[in-house]
Subunit: 170 residues, 2 copies
């Protein structure tokens, strides 16, 4: 609590004013991070030029989850830390997972759309493709945070995966 207050340039008393306990603070942070990540994804999608092909949409959405700038790195690092904490403290999870669930649905919807419009060449139902793509992004995220790959490399791995789904004959 003291450390958070100091880092924020604020009195300890104020932190206690808004977050009565440390648990409330942690849940609050997890929710806040979820929102920031959601906004980053929305911004990336909004930056697309019309018309939006399903493949490009998915590239933008999923690519936004890979930390390619300092802000993204900080957000993703903090989110990863809090997410890992929820693995042993499940009662801290509620709000954060809602965001993740919404994202999963959105990705699955895009895959469904791609299938309907005949752009998708790969087998497997949209739910499966979405779950796989999201797991891949999670792993790539971590590899970037751990400095195993630069962000650009991780993005190209993600794009290669998507390209393979949309045009496997190449």
């Amino acid at each position: 609590m003291r450390e958070v207050a100091a880092e924020a340039g604020v009195s300890l008393r104020l932190v206690q004013y808004y977050f009565h306990t440390k648990e409330e603070l942690l849940s609050g942070v997890l929710g806040h991070l979820g929102e920031r990540i959601g906004r980053r994804v929305q911004d990336a999608v909004a930056a697309l030029t019309e018309p939006v092909a399903p493949a490009a949409y998915l590239r933008a959405m999923l690519g936004a989850l890979i930390p390619h700038d300092e802000d993204g790195r900080q957000v993703m690092l903090a989110y990863t830390a809090h997410f890992t904490l929820t693995l042993s403290q499940p009662h801290l999870a509620p709000e954060g997972l809602a965001q993740a669930e919404a994202l999963r649905g959105s990705v699955a919807g895009r895959f469904q759309q791609a299938r309907d419009s005949g752009h998708l060449a790969a087998a497997g139902d949209p739910e499966t493709l979405a779950a796989t793509a999201l797991a891949l992004v999670t792993g790539l995220q971590l590899s970037v945070l751990a400095n195993q790959h630069p962000a650009a490399h991780a993005t190209s791995l993600l794009n290669a995966h998507l390209d393979h789904l949309f045009a496997p004959s190449a």
Copy 2:
């Protein structure tokens, strides 16, 4: 330190005897977890019946990283927690990453072998395929630990990904 001693049914003094500081304890645990995970992978590979097709080998190796029993869950959960810690305390990493690097090389080698023997249908160099597959497994691992998917489902997602690389025409 006290909590570790109590959990191990051992005196605090003994923990201090083998690990002079908390940092040493954490590094030691990280190394120990790396070994246990490596052994689990080796065991899974050793259980294969000859002759070993490249695809089956990769399925075994990578599948062993998905926690499908209680022991696996504990090991992977502890490893994930320590790995996440190294993201903000990089000096705790040295030994743990060596194991991961060895695994990456091994997976890449198998992909190379599959390509050479004509079993691999997908494009992309072995290094890329290995990095992608490992990132996917990391993400699936986390999804299982977070109870987003049962282990069997994660394994089937992994197998679907590998099948797609080995037989994309289906």
